[in-house]
Symmetry: C2
Subunit: 201 residues, 2 copies
């Protein structure tokens, strides 16, 4: 959380609550994180908390946005468009496998997707939007590679994007469960192989 000169005290408190609630929601899920937990983490009374957030739903949505923004920054900001498309995709996969989200608890997108697919519609819509943006970004990289003749013409960008996301997310889930890197490393090798297969030779 960056302190801005123009930010009033109320806004700073609101940002602090979001930053401190984000790892709790990300680790325990919506049902597993109570407003009591957030009160304990922030040291605020109930009245102080509800002055900033009208409901747990509102706070959970802000906490999700906070976690997702950090995850996206970590995964995407290093991508340099001056490099080739395949290089960008390999680099994206490498980064996902080697770095850990700055908000504890694993990928906020996957956590929220699993948590909300039979539940909270606001969180579900936010997770859908997050995956949609991610897929669109990867699709664009593939399309650019096709236009430049770097990637085969008959490639389906959506299919490549979906497979990269699905494989990495599934492997992250397995790696976190086992406390071992092997599933993520195996995923990287498989996806690197898939990218070799769509390269225009």
């Amino acid at each position: 959380m960056q302190k801005s000169d123009g930010m009033c005290k109320g806004e700073l408190t609101r940002q602090r609550i979001i930053a401190e609630a984000a790892p709790i929601f990300n680790q325990r899920g919506f049902a597993g994180c109570s407003m009591q937990d957030v009160m304990e983490a922030t040291g605020l009374e109930k009245g102080g908390l509800y002055r900033h957030f009208s409901s747990k739903e509102e706070l959970a949505a802000e906490a999700f946005r906070y976690s997702l923004e950090r995850a996206t920054k970590l995964r995407m900001e290093h991508l340099d468009r001056t490099h080739g498309s395949l290089e960008q995709l390999h680099s994206f996969i490498k980064r996902f496998v080697e770095t850990t989200s700055t908000v504890p608890g694993g990928c906020p997108l996957m956590n929220t997707a699993i948590d909300s697919d039979d539940g909270n519609p606001t969180l579900r819509d936010l997770a859908r939007e997050g995956f949609g943006n991610w897929r669109a970004r990867l699709c664009r990289i593939v399309e650019e590679g096709m236009q430049r003749g770097e990637i085969r013409k008959k490639t389906n960008p959506r299919s490549v994007a979906n497979t990269i996301i699905a494989t990495l997310e599934g492997a992250l889930m397995m790696s976190r469960l086992d406390g071992k890197k092997a599933p993520l490393k195996d995923a990287r090798a498989a996806l690197d192989g898939m990218l070799d297969g769509i390269a225009a030779h």
Copy 2:
């Protein structure tokens, strides 16, 4: 739930509670399913419920075993060992993509993994064991294929097994979130391609 002549009334009630609690735990997660929810679903009083299960943890573990057994049966029982290894793997992937778990809420393994990776250690151990068994089964199929000369000698069975599981689970998560089959279909195409790549020509 099958009614057995040898099963006493108490055991039947216990089995009924597990069967009715399983979809609630699978859809809402451990924190999102209360004993009150189970009482409402089963029509039992608190005393009736606690006569059969000493704690929510115990019931959740039994509900997970119930859901996992059904998912495993659906995914694995059709595999015919008289067929080739690659055919078995393709068939396993096809089945996963085309069928839906009989217990509502998606894959109990992935749900429990995400739900418990920062939480309940009993459920986490059960999920680890479940993934371990699944991986071992797929590894054996790959190893048999290598022994028969059907799959390339330098193949890493664990890597193939991990990638199949990660890709399918990640794609299931995305498909359930969007309500669309595309991520699962894309995963199948990608995995079928990966299997073509390990075939000994």
